[in-house]
Each structure stands twice: as structure tokens, then as C-alpha cells.
């Protein structure tokens, strides 16, 4: 007999377990099931920094958080409502995030002497009452799983045990009324061919978990979260690195130029290299270089040859590319540099997000070397941001930095698939003819864009030499003339500044229209900031929000927007980098909210910071 169903508007679930427990798979399957129900979703995996820290150890804990709701949501959520902890270490490292009264589901079987020790528990937390403030469901997941799989041919007891994550998924699916069919299909597809018995075991475990929910006493009610009223259309769930990769392929198609990626593996950017390596039938060439310098250099060489040259990395590697980017600035060739920001300085915390590289990409080169900078605001937005960055690079013949971060890179959200027809045409023309009475002047600029002609090898009559030494205006010959250097320095700067007329104005979201406080953000903090603004507004506060996609140049109306408000708050995952830029350029006494913890900003904390200003 069915149990009562309780309606919920949103739920935040976190699966946590040992690296070996398959939490990422569990989480992403729960995500698929949820997506199909039409909820809005936002997910955030939390990998351990180590490859495989010792089983059961604290550094070995792997987590996956999923936020789903019947409205459009903006973040994976600050704190979970439900925590599934597969072992003591997972409990230890995650319990502090669970608010009092939250639901806690643990695998009772895992709370044995050795595991408790490894997690640093003197006594079993399930027994010492330390969890009394939570709704604890201690379920013997392992033994129940093993029991359910008895008698399946060819499945070792080890393998049977390892299916416990599917048992947990089944239980959660029942609890929140998710259909388990898609997961069953997935499991068949994944193991069916090679090891049908494993497929069977996992499916059985999944179903057993689901059934367990229905039958056991421990769960009195089940929950339902109605579909969200999202923009109609075809959706798919996508991470930032996937979206960025697809964006590059789209840019290649839309520009008609072959894509060349020069990259050296580094967390959290490696996935882009790995993703693109799979699209060779799109004419994509991926080159795993000996280091980041070579990766960038090869991309410059490819650009000289007429390809869409791209190089991807993260902090320590981005820094190494600087000299090569300086060359590209002198050569005035199109080039895209993707910086998937991670916590630093130096090696820092490689798997954690940060917004620490804004000033680096703007100023991290010798002398005056201006570059446009574009930043993505959400996982799926990486697709559009990549196309926009390529558009600017190609049209203005300049290196462009695209900023993402470890949170966008690995986080996922539903993506309303664009129709290919609607994608912008970003094609650009190569020079084919001499441009000054029979001669070719490689630095004769387009008076509109100030871009120079792009003449690629193989074009008869346009043979020319370019290099990193200062060059004479128009001819591009080496020049040490003082006035010429001053002129060229200003021309390069004007070219980039001029892009302001070619990008949209800064939009402000100010529902009431009478806010006195503006919250300005950029990049990956869009979700938490928008969520924070909602909270403040729900609480009756008036606040306006604006979010920058272009960091250089700024949208032409930025100063005007900023001056409209009494107070400007700039939340960042750094110590105030955009803040510096805004104060310097617009002399606005903006203030920052800064957290440098290697975690996405928490909407609640940002909301408090806003409220403090609003109520002043």
C-alpha cells in the first residue's frame, strides 16, 4: 500500500562516499532521472585531489551534489537537505554542511572499527548520539545489496558489494519518485555487452533499493517535486567543459576555419583536450604538446596558417603562455586562450574553483599588451561564451582570453539546445590581393576595426615576414622610430578598446526599478549572486543585478550604469580584482564581498552582504 506523498518545491541531495564507491555515477544517474521529470537542475561534483587516496580515508572522499526544483534554479545549492554517506569518512567530511534537521542516510555496514579509525572517529557516531539533531536513517546498504544479489552467476562478492551505490540510488529514486528505467537502460548499455551479469547485479541492486523504500518502515513518506516551468524546447544536461568544447566546434563551423587545439594536460582543463580529441570527424586537430609554451606556440603557428588556433589551460599553465601571447599581440593574429581557473597561487588547490586570474590575463605580459577578455557565467553558457570569444579574436585579429573555472567546468545544468541556424556567422576573409598599389602591406588596418589583413601562406604575391620586434605602421617592417612605437602602442590599445562598440550594453536586472544598491559580478559567480538577489527581494529588499560577460573592454554603458546607484557591491571568488578595475576606470567607490575558499560563493552569504548594504 502506497505511502503518503509530500509536495516539495526543491531538494538538494548530496551523495558522498569513497572514491571507489561510484558516487559520481550515482549522482549523474540521479540527475538524468530527475531531468526527465522536467525539474530544473544544477549539479556540482566534488572530486578528491588525489587520484585514489587510500580507501576509507578522509582525502579519499568523493561527492556529488544535485539541486532540483519546480522552478528555475541558479546554483547547486549552499547546503544539502539530504546527505547520503556511504562510509564514516564521507560522514565526517560532509556532516557539517547538513543543516540541523536535515535527512541523513548512511550505510550502517560501513561503520566498522577500521573505517571509523581511518575517518578519525574514536566512537561510532551512529551510537554516541552526536547525530541526534538530524533525521538519521542508518540502513545496512551493503548487506542488503549482497543479499539481493545472491545467486547471480559470475558475480564476485566484491562486485556484489560494489553495487551498493545502485541500491542507494534505487532507494533515493523511490524516496523522490524518480523513474529508475533510464538507469536500467544505462546499466544495460554500459555492462550488458561485456559483462551481462554485472549489468544484472546493478539493476537488481537498484530495484532492491527502490523496493526497500516501499516496504521498510524507516521511511514514512515519499516526496514529489513538480516539473519546473522552463522555457519550452529540447534540453540536455551539460558541464561547462563539454559546453566549451562544443562551442569551439561550433565556432569552427561558423567561421569555416579548421579547429586546432594545442594543450598540455592540467586540472581542471584537461577534459577539453580529451573531449575535442573525440571529434576528429569535425576536422578538429588536437595536439598534446610537451608543455604549455609549446601548446600556445603551436596554436600561434596554426593561426598563422589560417586555422582557428586555440589553447587551453589553468593558472600555472596560463602563466607559462604569457610570452607567446605577447608575440600573438604583436603579430596581431587571432588566437583563443581558455583559462579554466583554479585555486592558487602556484599549484594551490588544483580541483577547486577561484576567480584569481582576471588581473593575470589582463596584465600578465611585458609592456602594454592589451587583450580582450570574455567570461562564461554558467556551465551551459560556456558554449555561447566560446563562440563570442572566437568571434572577437577572428574579427579583430587578436588573442582573446576566455575565462571559466573549476566550478563551471565540472558543474552541470540543463541546456536548452540552440538551433544551429541561429548561431552567429563569424566567418572572416583572408587577404588575397596586394592592398597598396601592387604591394602587400601586412599592417595596413581596417579603419573600422583597426584589424590588419590576414594573409596566409599559400597566397601568391602576399609573401611577408612578421615578428615580435616593433613594426612600422602599415608596412610592418622592423622599426625603432620613437613616434612609430608610441603610435603602434596606442593603435594596439585602441583596437581592443574599440570592441566596446561591437558588444551589447550591460543589462541590469532591477525588477522594482528603484533599487539603490547594484550588485555587479562576472563569470562563474552569476548563479550564487542571482540567487542571493532573489532572497533579498523575497525579503522585501530592493537590489539591482548586473553581470559582466566582457571584462575588456567593458560594455560602453558600464560607467553610466554604475553611477546610477548609491552603492555598488562586487562579490568575487578572489580578493577584489574586478573591484580594482572598476574603481580605477570609473572612480566609483564600489565595495567587495570576497571569499577565497575554493568553493562557489554561497548565495546565503552573498545575500547577507547585499542586505547589509540595502539596509544602510
Amino acid at each position: 500500500m502506497a505511502k503518503p506523498v509530500e509536495q516539495l518545491s526543491q531538494v538538494i541531495v548530496r551523495f558522498a562516499g569513497d572514491s571507489g564507491d561510484g558516487m559520481q555515477l550515482t549522482g549523474s544517474q540521479f540527475t538524468s532521472e530527475t531531468a526527465l521529470l522536467g525539474n530544473d537542475i544544477s549539479t556540482l561534483p566534488d572530486f578528491p585531489a588525489e587520484i585514489r587516496a587510500p580507501a576509507g580515508s578522509l582525502p579519499g572522499v568523493s561527492g556529488f551534489q544535485l539541486h532540483f526544483a519546480d522552478f528555475d534554479i541558479l546554483t547547486p545549492g549552499d547546503e544539502p537537505n539530504v546527505l547520503v554517506a556511504m562510509n564514516p569518512a564521507a560522514l565526517k567530511t560532509n556532516i557539517n554542511d547538513l543543516p540541523k534537521g536535515g535527512t541523513l542516510i548512511v550505510d550502517e555496514d560501513a561503520f566498522k572499527e577500521r573505517n571509523l579509525q581511518k575517518a578519525g572517529y574514536a566512537v561510532n557516531p551512529l551510537e554516541d548520539g552526536s547525530l541526534s539533531e538530524y533525521q538519521v536513517h542508518a540502513v545496512p546498504l551493503t548487506s542488503l545489496t549482497v543479499g539481493a544479489l545472491k545467486g547471480i552467476e559470475g558475480v564476485t562478492s566484491r562486485e556484489a558489494e560494489r553495487s551498493k551505490n545502485m541500491f542507494a540510488l534505487g532507494l533515493m529514486s523511490w524516496l523522490y519518485g524518480r523513474p529508475i528505467e533510464p538507469t536500467i537502460e544505462f546499466l544495460q548499455a554500459k555492462f550488458g555487452a561485456k559483462r551481462p551479469e554485472i549489468a544484472e547485479a546493478n539493476v537488481k541492486a537498484l530495484q532492491a533499493g527502490y523496493a526497500f523504500g516501499e516496504t521498510t518502515e524507516t521511511f514514512a513518506v515519499t516526496y514529489e517535486v513538480k516539473p519546473a516551468k522552463l522555457k519550452p524546447g529540447l534540453y540536455r544536461n551539460i558541464t561547462g567543459n563539454q559546453a566549451l568544447s562544443l562551442g569551439l566546434i561550433a565556432a569552427s563551423k561558423q567561421s569555416g576555419l579548421p579547429l586546432f587545439l594545442g594543450a598540455y594536460p592540467i586540472t581542471p582543463a584537461s577534459a577539453i583536450l580529451e573531449e575535442l580529441a573525440g571529434y576528429k570527424n569535425f576536422g578538429v586537430r588536437t595536439f598534446q604538446a610537451e608543455d604549455e609554451i609549446a601548446a600556445a606556440g603551436a596554436a600561434v603557428g596554426a593561426a598563422f596558417g589560417g586555422a582557428l588556433g586555440v589553447t587551453t589551460s589553468a593558472g600555472p599553465g596560463i602563466v607559462l603562455k604569457a610570452e607567446t601571447i605577447g608575440l600573438a599581440i604583436m603579430l596581431e593574429l587571432p588566437l583563443l586562450i581558455c583559462d579554466i581557473q583554479r585555486a592558487g597561487p602556484s599549484t594551490g588547490m588544483p580541483t577547486k574553483p577561484e576567480q584569481g586570474d582576471l588581473l593575470l590575463v589582463l596584465y600578465g605580459r611585458n609592456s602594454e599588451s592589451p587583450v580582450p577578455v570574455v567570461a562564461a557565467r554558467s556551465p551551459s553558457d560556456c558554449f555561447d561564451a566560446a563562440i563570442e570569444a572566437c568571434r572577437i579574436a577572428l574579427k579583430y585579429r587578436t588573442p582573446v582570453y576566455l575565462l571559466s573555472d573549476a566550478y563551471l567546468a565540472n558543474g552541470s545544468e540543463p541546456w536548452l539546445l540552440p538551433d544551429v541556424e541561429s548561431l552567429p556567422d563569424i566567418s572572416t576573409a583572408f587577404a588575397t590581393e596586394p592592398n597598396v598599389d601592387g604591394e602587400f602591406m601586412p599592417y595596413l588596418r581596417d579603419d573600422q576595426t583597426l584589424a590588419r589583413p590576414w594573409a596566409i601562406p599559400g597566397t601568391p604575391g602576399l609573401e611577408h615576414r612578421i615578428g615580435g620586434l616593433e613594426k612600422a605602421d602599415v608596412t610592418g617592417n622592423i622599426s625603432y622610430d620613437p613616434d612609430n612605437h608610441d603610435l603602434m602602442t596606442r593603435l594596439r590599445t585602441q583596437k581592443v578598446a574599440g570592441i566596446a562598440s561591437d558588444i551589447p550594453e550591460l543589462e541590469v536586472d532591477d525588477p522594482e526599478g528603484n533599487a539603490k544598491v547594484l550588485v555587479l559580478g562576472w563569470g562563474g559567480t552569476y548563479g550564487p549572486i542571482a540567487a542571493a538577489c532573489r532572497r533579498v527581494r523575497k525579503g522585501g529588499g530592493n537590489v539591482a543585478q548586473a553581470h559582466l560577460r566582457h571584462l575588456n573592454p567593458f560594455p560602453r554603458n558600464t560607467g553610466e550604469v554604475l553611477r546610477r546607484y548609491d552603492r555598488v557591491l562586487i562579490p568575487e571568488m578572489n580578493l577584489g580584482q574586478l573591484l580594482k578595475l572598476v574603481r580605477a576606470e570609473f572612480l566609483v567607490d564600489a565595495v567587495g564581498y570576497n571569499r577565497v575558499s575554493g568553493l562557489p560563493l554561497r548565495a546565503a552569504e552573498v545575500a547577507d552582504a547585499i542586505t547589509a548594504l540595502v539596509e544602510q
Binding site: S32, A35, G38, P182, P227, L230, K231, P232, G233, L234, Y235, R236, N237, L246, I249, A250, P258, F260, G262, Y279, K280, N281, F282, G283, R285, F287, A289, E290, I293, A294, A295, G297, A298, A299, V300, G301, A302, A303, F304, G305, A307, T324, G326, L327, L331, L417, V420, P457, G458, T459, P460, G461, E463, H464, R465, I466, G467, G468, L469, N477
Partner: protein, 340 residues
């Protein structure tokens, strides 16, 4: 080299066609002039249109080279030419790509890019102008300067043991390794021809005199009128040298090489195609210091899959297998759902 390198049109090029309007700015007497002249004279015979030829360089006196070749060219940054050339060669297999570099550019700051380009066997030719000194920065010692060299930066003599550029290249799995002398136009042209014909990366060390900061460094072969110091390597021929070719080389059973009489039974027959790199390596250890003679010519020239060819093949294979990429299909791949 590109098959349709001529771009269709008939070529009647001469050395003059490869000169640029830029005033050549090397010191009077610099060996680079001779190299430039030899290159400009050799180019036409390649039968490749000027627009399909690209010279890439780093920084240094040698690296000025591209400015003086009327082809496409890039004077890039110090040491990075091989990396840049890799990106160009991989995306444009139709081009003839050449790298002009110095001993500091290629072996000091650029050493890593050099050895990786060689092991990958990317299709471009590397000309290393070895003057055993940093010329452009006015005379500091380089990775090929002899131990104890007194220079601006080493008033009491340099402390580091030099690289043997050919040994390094062979140790880095190079498929083509050769040596030439700036003033020996005929010999250099032969080597350039062999390098151009070799598909994959070719490494050519050119002894180049720097009269300003390291004059006479290579007199033993440059002024070697009777050819008593040059050991000319000719594939398939016994290695004889010295006055009237009275000396010869023989290999000891331990793999090292010793002198022997010209008529010695075991005279080493040069085999640039040998599957093992051991012979070429052993020959690279034969130097003026160790043997009183210096091998010149092609040390090694073997076939190995070329990086850019392999990449092209993978692209073709992938397209063959999955068809021309379809963007719309790609975006819609994976699990999707509709919201009505």
C-alpha cells in the same frame, strides 16, 4: 613536401627571387651571409612556389634569417620556433616549412621543443646555425661552447660541458641528422637537398663563423684546403679521409670508433639508413678533439611515420567511419528531453 607545391603555375625562379627588400643586417664577414646565399641559390631547385614556403625562427642573429627570404616567414620568440612550426606543419601539410635557429635558440632555451619535434618527426626542416656563442646578446657562451671558454659571462672560463648537437638529436630519436659548413656551398646544398627530400623532421647543424665574438671557431674545417680534417660521409661508401684519403674509420667491438689504414679490411661503410641509431651516434662522437677529424654530411636518414601524416590519417579515418561532422547532430547527442 607538397606535391602540388608549385600551386599549378610554372616556376622559373632564381636565387634573386628569394631576396627581400630588407637590408641584410649581419656583421661584415658573418657566416650567416654564406648560409643565406646557399639557401637562396638552392630554393629554386625545390620546385616549390615561394608562397608555399615558410621560414620560422626564434631570436638571435641566426633568427634574422626569415627577413631575408622572400617567402612567408615568422621571426618569433626565443627558442619557440619548433613549437610554432609544429602547429603550422600539422595544419598545413601543403607547405614547405623551415626553421632557422642558433645554438642558444635551439639548444639552450629551446632545447625541449627541439627534442620533442625530432621524436615526433613533424614535417619541417631545422637549420641550426652553430657559432658556439650567443651573438645577438654580444658574446656570452652557449651550450655548444667548449668547456673553459672565456666569455663576457665567464671571465674565468665556462663550467658546463657542451652538448654535441648531433648526439643530442640522435638520442632524441631524430630521423634525419646532418652537418654542413657555412662556407662549403656545394656540401651544404647537398645536405639541404637531402633534408628537403626527407619526409619528417630533419636536423642540420651548420658550422657558422661569428667573426665578432667567436672568430675562427671552425677553422679546422673552414680553412681545411686539402681537406685533411673533413671526414666526408657518403652513404654506402667506406669512410676514408685525410690527405689523399689515407686514413679510414673502423668500429671497435665495443661500438666505439677508431682510426685505421685506408685499406684496412674492417673499414666502416657508411649506412645512413641503418635501422639502429647506434652507428650514427658513434659517428657523432668522432670529433676534431677526439679523432683529429670531423665528419661532414648526412649521418642518419631513416623513414618513420610522420606526425602530421598520422594526424591527417586519423582525421580521414574518423570521417570515413562517422561521416563529416554534423553540428546539429552533435549538439543533440547524449540524453535529451523536451519541455513542452
Amino acid at each position: 613536401m607538397s606535391d602540388n607545391g608549385t600551386n599549378g603555375h610554372k616556376l622559373t625562379l632564381t636565387a634573386k627571387d628569394y631576396r627581400t627588400d630588407q637590408e641584410v643586417r649581419w656583421c661584415p664577414g658573418c657566416g650567416d651571409y654564406a648560409i643565406l646565399a646557399a639557401m637562396q641559390a638552392f630554393m629554386p631547385e625545390l620546385g616549390i612556389a615561394r608562397e608555399n614556403t615558410v621560414f620560422v625562427s626564434g631570436i638571435g642573429c641566426a633568427a634574422r634569417f626569415p627577413y631575408y627570404m622572400n617567402t612567408y616567414g615568422m621571426h618569433s620568440i626565443h627558442g619557440r620556433a619548433p613549437a610554432i612550426a609544429t602547429g603550422l606543419a600539422v595544419t598545413r601539410p601543403d607547405l614547405s616549412v623551415w626553421v632557422a635557429t642558433g645554438d642558444g635558440d635551439a639548444l639552450s632555451i629551446g632545447g625541449n621543443h627541439l627534442i620533442h619535434a625530432l621524436r615526433r618527426n613533424v614535417n619541417f626542416k631545422i637549420l641550426l646555425f652553430n657559432n658556439r656563442i650567443y651573438g645577438l646578446t654580444k658574446g656570452q657562451y652557449s651550450p655548444t661552447s667548449e668547456l673553459g671558454k672565456v666569455t663576457k659571462s665567464t671571465p674565468m672560463g665556462s663550467l658546463d660541458w657542451p652538448f654535441n648537437p648531433l648526439s643530442l638529436a640522435i638520442g632524441a630519436e631524430a630521423t634525419f641528422v646532418a652537418r654542413a659548413v657555412d662556407t662549403d656551398k656545394a656540401g651544404m646544398t647537398e645536405v639541404l637537398r637531402a633534408a628537403a627530400e626527407h619526409r619528417g623532421s630533419a636536423f642540420v647543424e651548420i658550422f657558422q663563423n661569428c667573426p665578432i665574438f667567436n672568430d675562427d671557431a671552425f677553422d679546422f674545417v673552414r680553412d681545411d684546403k686539402e681537406g685533411i680534417n673533413r671526414i666526408a660521409l657518403r652513404d654506402g661508401e667506406p669512410i676514408r679521409w685525410g690527405k689523399d684519403l689515407q686514413k679510414a674509420l673502423r668500429q671497435r667491438s665495443d661500438g666505439s670508433i677508431e682510426d685505421c689504414a685506408a685499406d684496412d679490411a674492417g673499414v666502416l661503410v657508411h649506412d645512413a639508413q641503418h635501422e639502429s641509431a647506434a652507428l650514427a651516434f658513434a659517428l657523432s662522437r668522432v670529433t676534431q678533439e677526439t679523432h683529429g677529424g670531423t665528419p661532414i654530411g648526412v649521418f642518419r636518414d631513416v623513414e618513420r611515420p610522420v606526425y602530421d601524416d598520422l594526424m591527417a590519417e586519423q582525421l580521414a579515418a574518423a570521417t570515413e567511419k562517422r561521416g563529416e561532422g554534423d553540428l546539429a547532430a552533435l549538439l543533440h547527442s547524449g540524453e535529451t528531453w523536451t519541455i513542452g
